[in-house]
Amino acid sequence: MIPDDLRYTKEHEWVRIDGDQATIGITEFAQDELGDVVFVELPPAGSRIDANAVFGTVESVKAVSDLFMPLTGEVLEVNTALVDAPERVNEDPYGDAWMIRIRIGDVSELDALLSSEDYGRFIAAGGSES
């Protein structure tokens, strides 16, 4: 399940672009690999985070994984509901379980994001760089 109206990263984040803002979450593939998510840690609204920097962590019964910022930007809104209901990441990764909404800091970075077709090919090949 790879919605074609979103952009993606090789770290398995999705990005929904809306004007100068973007909403970010993790993909269906990511939640399936992680297994049952038990804890989500997100940055406070107002933080300014560089592209590729860690913006939070997601913990499952198997592992703790970093969340990587797909784009440089200022965090406008955080889905704090995930703190009490981390299972939403498993249930609705592209909807209810959006993680942060940002103001895009550098539109030139959009070019580096993957299309749904590219991301589909990437996970079909294993979903990992190494």
Binding site: E33, V38, F39, E59, V61, K62, A63, E87, E129, S130
Partner: protein, 501 residues
Amino acid sequence: MTRRDRVARHASLNERLVFEKGSPGRRGSDLSAADFPRRELSELIDDELVRDSIDGMPSLAESEVVRHFTRLSDWNYHVDLGLYPLGSCTMKYNPKVNEKIARMDGFADLHPYLPESLVQGALEVQKRLEECLAEITGMDRVTLQPAAGAHGELTGLMMVRAYHESRGRGRRSILVPDSAHGTNPASARIAGYEAVHVPSNAKGTLDLDALDRLTNPDVAGIMVTNPNTLGIFEGEIARIAERMHAIGALVYMDGANMNAMMGVARPGDFGVDVLHLNLHKTFSTPHGGGGPGAGPVAVKDALAPFLPAPLIERDGDGRCRLDDERPESIGRVKAFHGQFGMHSRALAYILACGPNGLREASETAVLNAAYVRSKLEGAYHLAYGAPTLHEVVFSDRFQAAHGVHVMDIAKRLIDYGFHPPTIAFPLVVRGAIMIEPTETESREELDAFIDAMLKIARECETDPDRVRSAPHTTRVGRVDEAEAARKPVLRWRPPAGPAAN
């Protein structure tokens, strides 16, 4: 079915909490005679602070108490019972001579506030252990204070920071390979560093090109585990150390896997500046619930000024003294000189083995892992083909084709009477099954384990449901780990009902 399938090890009844057992009025106390003068309670405590009864205090007969705890003890799986193949944990059998030494009156009855003159024996044990660990690792000085591996990591990284700050610049980041123990990046963060991941190459070792791309003057050091968590020796370690030293950075080694190379290779000889050891892994002190850990940290002379104070110094007359006059020290990291009971056990182990014995222990650990690898290869997918040392990492790829995953295999192994290996780690292998048999297992025990693993591999093809629904022989089957982590119940509450008494 095999005999191992039919025989249940435990009574099949579940056991209630002690608070849910007994009945008001039952008693089973048998107190020893006091070795101090008897005084009335009212002489010691104000009446208003004394109560006649405690709500919910269990009332049990002696037989109920004895059976309760005996049953619970029978539920344990431990190294005295059988193979405990947790990869990266080195769950070796702990020889009983360690316990005899640690229980000697002069050690067991020590008080930490005794003056130096009365604890010369204990200080001698710690000093000799320091000297032995320095010799085994090829390092210069050792602190015995840290209480566990991760505590050792933090101590080591605090010294790395102190070292750089003493040269005017604390630097920003620590490089951590993607196959590292999860504690490595956590320790780096707590020590105030950014943890930067270094990817592995296709051989499962550190990628030198990636390392070069990540190397810059802000790098304070690298944390390597050698052999790494795939059980593969980082053959480029000397070159990695050269590159780090060329930019003034330090090399930290996680010594969790030292059991693979005692008496064979010394980290101090291949460029390591600071490392921690796990006495509860390599040096056969109890691990896990069996006892407190101990994570000594060894350093080269350049880092020695920053070691936690006090250190034990030997005076000219051979007596030991605690040296607190260490102005550049990062300070004390543990009260009372660390877990002394583990120091006496580890020294007993080292002296009982001797240099040749320690080397033989490592060689046998590697041989045992190679034996398991050779017998299971084919039935389980080998994640990396490179030669491995003391542990081997398979994956569930073959079994996943039948819809059976690593967790199912681990649960099924319980039915065959073994503790499961480490699973889902290292993270670089999807569905990892990480087996470390250690040197203390006999051929027969290894064969029984191999036999069980091969049977499970066959079951995954012929009867996958049986594996997916395992374990079948335990009182409790699968628990809801996700729910337990999401909504932990941290306190027992009495069931609602008519109040007792």
